[in-house]
């Protein structure tokens, strides 16, 4: 019983150390969501990935890490459970209790933006949409898979899934956007 608090802290300290000493995120401008620092964190009792499920009855969270689902238990002491939302990217830190992985905290995984790209907030976007693409001089791009776009997208958005974008470049953008003077706004299903 005596050394329990210490056991709980060791993984946390390890992670903090790794993150602080990890590679800088501004290193690769085009694909700044570099997996390297996450991979380091995976080893140190933390999973970074999409939350694929949460059951309050079974007190279990599942996280998709490298295409596989990992299961963790949680309890009343788990911090940040409100961030364990299905479909959202999160960092789940855990400790081992016997053979079980217990989530100690859940944090939202914030995406890092490529150099020279600024975030747009909801209010600002709403104002532009009220003006419409012509007057607001913008093209809003939905980066999610096309099926997602079809069932519901932000008004005035066009569909250009990131996978298609990589293959076709900006050929799918409207002509005026290809002149590169238009504000291009990308979005997807949350902080991923």
């Amino acid at each position: 019983m005596h050394n329990k608090p210490l056991r709980r802290w060791i993984p946390f300290l390890l992670i903090t150390g790794l993150l602080a000493g990890g590679p800088s995120l501004s290193g690769s401008p085009a694909f700044a969501a570099d997996p390297a620092p996450q991979a380091a964190a995976q080893d140190a009792n933390a999973f970074t990935g999409k939350i694929t499920g949460k059951s309050n009855k079974a007190k279990t969270i599942s996280v998709e890490v490298k295409g596989k689902n990992e299961f963790l238990k949680f309890d009343d002491t788990t911090k940040g459970l409100e961030h364990a939302v299905e479909g959202e990217a999160a960092i789940v830190k855990f400790e081992l209790r016997g053979a079980d992985r217990f989530a100690t905290s859940v944090e939202p995984k914030l995406a890092t933006l490529p150099e020279g790209v600024a975030e747009m907030k909801t209010d600002e976007l709403a104002k532009l949409i009220a003006m419409g693409p012509a007057e607001g001089n913008y093209v809003l791009v939905d980066s999610r898979p096309a099926a997602r776009y079809h069932e519901g997208h932000i008004p005035t958005a066009i569909s250009l899934p990131d996978t298609v974008h990589v293959e076709t470049g900006d050929a799918y953008l409207p002509g005026d956007a290809r002149l590169k003077k238009t504000t291009l706004i990308f979005y997807c299903g949350g902080f991923t």
Partner: protein
């Protein structure tokens, strides 16, 4: 991922590139609506609702649409299948949005708006239908690719030759009743106990709604065990269980 696309655009020489990082969830949370595409209205497995007056509807509406005039929408809560993707349209976006907001409040899971109503529909070269609205709204969910139908599931309760029902509810829940021909392993023990499952049988996984069953399926996939999931409500009381779609 939108940041990836933004990086690509930047590389291609676009100067003003932004990312709405919070994305769709934040947009909806802020009380704003999303719009459906033309293709989704044409071919999606949806419930389409025309919020205009009866006269306007009968004179010309988008095919498949049901007429629920805005004024009577509040009283129609029970006639809408909340699991269905509901697409609404009206004469103005504002009216459509009012209907959308109300349905969201009822718990409609995937609601959206067809913007521009019948005008944008015909502008895109689509035809309108005429006449009275169908008597009732019917909608059948299409099975997902990992899903077992309730009918097939019930058959497996009587004949376990090739299939076994896997119950992943908690031990407490199981005290109130368990289905025939089923094996119980709580979700949080699945990973450790997959070895107990018989080889060569397909597992049909259920819980009380389907959410935990889907989580369990991931564990079975990992272990290379064939399985499908029942998305339905399973309620047990005093040894008797009821399954409803």
């Amino acid at each position: 991922m939108s940041p990836k696309s933004a990086g690509l655009a930047k590389k291609m020489g676009h100067t003003d590139v932004r990312v709405f990082l919070a994305g769709i969830p934040a947009w909806k949370k802020a009380g704003k609506s999303v719009t459906a595409s033309e293709k989704f209205v044409q071919t999606g497995n949806i419930v389409l609702v025309d919020l205009r007056s009866k006269e306007e509807y009968e004179a010309g509406h988008i095919p498949k649409a049901h007429n629920i005039p805005m004024a009577s929408l509040a009283a129609k809560e029970d006639s809408l299948p909340i699991k269905a993707p509901v697409v609404v349209y009206a004469n103005t976006f504002l009216e459509a949005q009012q209907g959308y907001n109300l349905m969201k409040k009822w718990g409609v899971k995937t609601g959206s708006i067809w913007p521009g109503g019948v005008k944008s529909w015909t502008d895109k070269g689509n035809k309108l239908a005429t006449g009275p609205t169908p008597a009732s709204i019917s909608w059948t969910r299409k099975l997902g690719k990992n899903e077992v139908s309730l009918a097939e599931f019930k058959k497996a309760m009587d004949d376990g030759a090739n299939q076994l029902i896997l119950d992943v509810r908690t031990s407490d829940e199981v005290k109130d009743g368990i289905l025939k021909n089923s094996k119980h392993i709580p979700l949080d023990e699945i990973e450790k106990r997959v070895g107990e499952l018989p080889k060569g049988k397909e597992m049909l996984i259920h819980c009380s709604t389907g959410a935990r069953a889907e989580m369990a399926k991931a564990a079975l996939d990992k272990a290379g065990i064939k399985s499908r999931v029942l998305i339905a409500d399973v309620e047990c009381e005093q040894g008797k269980c009821e399954i409803t779609d």
